[in-house]
Amino acid sequence: MSMQEITEADDGVKIVRATSAFDCGGRCPLRLHVKDNVIIKVEGDDTAGPETQLRACVRCRAYKHWVHHKDRVLYPMKRVGPKGKGEFERISWDEALDTVATKIKETKDKYGSQAIFFLAGGGYHGNLHGAGQIGKLLSMMGGFTTDYGNISSEGAVWAVMSTYGDVMVGHSREDFLNSKLILLWGWDPARMISGTNTMYHLIQAKEAGVKIISIGPRYDDTTSTLECEWIPVRPGTDTAMMVAMANIIIKNNLQDQAFLDKYTVGFDKFKDYVLGDEDGIEKTPQWAAEITGVPAERIEALAKEYATTDPACLMDCQGPARSAMGEQYNRCAIVLTAMTGNIGKNGGSAAGGLMGIPVGHMFRSPGIPGMKNPVEAGAPSIRGTLDLKLRVIRRVHKVKISDCLLEGKAGGYPADIKMVWSVSNNYVNQYGNANKASRALKQVDFMVSNEIFMTPTAKHADIVLPVTTPAEKSDITRPWPSGPYFTFINQAIEPLGECKSDLEIAYAMAERLGFNDFKQHENEEWLRLFCENNEQLAEHIKDFEKYKEEGVVRVKLDEPIVAFRKEIEDPENHPFKTPSGKIEIFSQRAADINQANVPPIPKYLSTAEDRFDPLYEKYPLQVLTPHGRNRVHSTLTNVEELAEVDPHRVWINPIDADPRGIKSEDDLFVWNDRGKIAIKAWVTERIVPGVLCIFQGTWYDPDDEGIDRGGCANTLTNDAYSGGGGAILNTLLVEAAKA
């Protein structure tokens, strides 16, 4: 196979090396076969042998169907019906951009720049064509209000920042082979991938004899493939199980006290809590069994096994952290790794959910330089703070955008919003409480949205601007947390219809707004500059032309990356980036916040919409809302070729289905006080009784009675965040019945 970026064959088919840039974070190398400006076929990575190829998953195998979907928004559109109905007519780019420019100026003049909300998400971006330059443009016009927080991982981020002071808590995947025991906690890489090849690495570990145990509410495909033991646990109770494990470790004196003494602060306070000296309740396995549904003996045995296996790898992923006390779960996982001395060594783990390694990490991506948002000038520094109150003085937490739009300053939010510019996100569908989001957007004076499809969010806009997919432009990308490699997107086709990239839209708007020097370089020049100036790209990409040609640069690691290796080997010269320089089991910064849901040590606390909430009588089913297997959040939902291999169904255990007379394929309603969805049932033994599973990402589609016929999980979820800023999309109660 020729290692050219684009090879031409006799039949007029050219093969282009690229990747998709979906928010899955894979960035797997693809070879796109293109003829007459149409992607006709897809092949995967051929730059390595079968064992180490960066193999795409089911999603990108349908890439051409997404790029060439019949429902692509190809022209600028203007709303003609009521807001939210999705009735639009085609207009010219001139009219569209003039309208937006006028609205920016009018909003600023009448209400101030803070009345403009810039809503940008993870969408479909490489490093060049992101939403950033639209933000810069708005800053040059006076600024905007925007959101903070990461739906995926904010709870985990808070946990690692409070405990370690650092987000780089991952090991490279090869390190699994060094482990003697791997605990998969709320982690299903077979479905959500979690970094290309991760599942294959786990299979190889299993085949090499590494013992694996899976803990979670579902017998998921990772568990079924690895044929490992499944410990079913109720959603939102993971922290209780971990705290009870700590109890057993302490009672049997199995903790690595030397490690705790040398590298941590506050273990004694955690010990007081665990042994019941703090609140009079000892956190025994029996105590945890009532809460979690896991038998006490099993918790005890797991604790002993984890504490006496060296090295043992606790992989606490982020799903359980998307719950009402989510950061406590990741914090507690870190405490367990510290108690067992598994941090900073091969085969162990640092826990903390994020799994990122510092080579090619998404947080270190290059981009065209932006500009500080004038609206945020003078706000207190949030550097090193765990206090979310400081973060929401000028910004709005992502899950509170609806409340901000509806209540504004009267509700305690930074501004009264009169205009929304939405880029590369599907807020209505994905940020919690879809009905409220829809209500909120319907009453905003003006909304413009950059879109590939007429999504539930797009339907609420006044102007929709058609944007290109990654196939219609060149860019460079890097995978989310796990890698390490960088991919190059070579443009495969000319933009369809009149689509422009978000960057081109920024340029076109800049012209209209009178900023003549806004565009500083041509696209290719920017890509070269990124490779020269971004620290990690400059280190690993020595030959830009080769990078472009081959489509991928794989970073060779001499040894597996292990988080905090230096901090453990040489603590004198490499203290942890916390105020104490140590791993903070007790966090003074958290204590200073003085808030009940921000305990200074990891704790299990009951929350609203758990099984102890009086609401449980009315809504006796918990819900999990994991990632769909055949899409990326709400991207690819409309690709039939993917929908047919995994139809949207709610998982329900026969123990819950039988009394409700529910059989597989029955039409159901699932509802709570926030909304009601229509969805077909899949009765399965693979889920904890009392729990439903509704995969997120199908499109919100309310009928005339307000019933969401798309079965969107977020019609049911709460728009609230945890003490650490986690989106609590896995903490909710519902009822279900045949329709």
Binding site: E51, A56, R61, Y219, T225, P232
Partner: protein
């Protein structure tokens, strides 16, 4: 030489990347007809549940009963590689002949589209790709490396032969364990997931 299909049931996550990749490569539209399918099996009750996936293609049987059943002699087994192939010109369409090939096949390998009087098509082990030195598209696409296509003897030498259920005169359905048809002798090697 007989080409064979290898499936490691212990590695398959049921993700269907192979199904979508095959449909992409051969421009097969949305619908039930597919060259490769994944069957699902769920065993036992909560919490002792077990799950298995089974990859089913045409297994290019040593004794292709489909060829015997075809009234038009449209199907034949290639000498050079044992692939069971179809002379599409000779196929008169299922409405005409009643689909004897599909009735005979224990694995429901023959496929028919939704057009009027559709002709049969099915997996051909990606002969075109193999002839160019490329892997079959399902093999190339599998994220957990659960598939392989090579001469059957090579597959046996590489992976070894595991015990499987042998049966005659049955149809493989969703929820079934794999069985080796002693009637048709499929050129397939499977590493079965053994569950209790």
């Amino acid at each position: 030489m007989q080409m064979g299909f290898y499936f490691d049931q212990t590695r398959c996550t049921g993700c269907k990347a192979c199904v979508v990749a095959c449909k992409d490569w051969y421009d097969i539209p949305v619908g039930e007809a597919t060259r490769i399918k994944i069957l699902y099996q769920e065993q036992n009750k909560w919490p002792d549940v077990r799950v298995k996936y089974l990859t089913v293609t045409c297994y290019h049987c040593l004794d292709p009963v489909c060829a015997d059943a075809c009234p038009e002699d449209a199907m034949f087994k290639r000498d050079e590689d044992g692939i069971v192939d179809l002379d599409v010109e000779a196929c008169v369409g299922i409405d005409e002949c009643g689909g004897g090939c599909l009735k005979a096949c224990p694995y429901d390998a023959p496929q028919f589209g939704t057009e009027s009087n559709p002709k049969m098509w099915k997996c051909d082990l990606c002969v075109d790709r193999l002839s160019k030195g490329q892997q079959a598209i399902c093999v190339e696409s599998c994220p957990t490396r659960a598939l392989d296509i090579a001469p059957l003897d090579e597959l046996k030498a590489k992976y070894g032969e595991k015990e499987v259920v042998v049966a005659r005169g049955r149809k493989l359905k969703e929820g079934d364990e794999f069985f080796y048809s002693s009637r048709t002798k499929p050129a397939v090697l499977i590493n079965p997931k053994v569950t209790t």
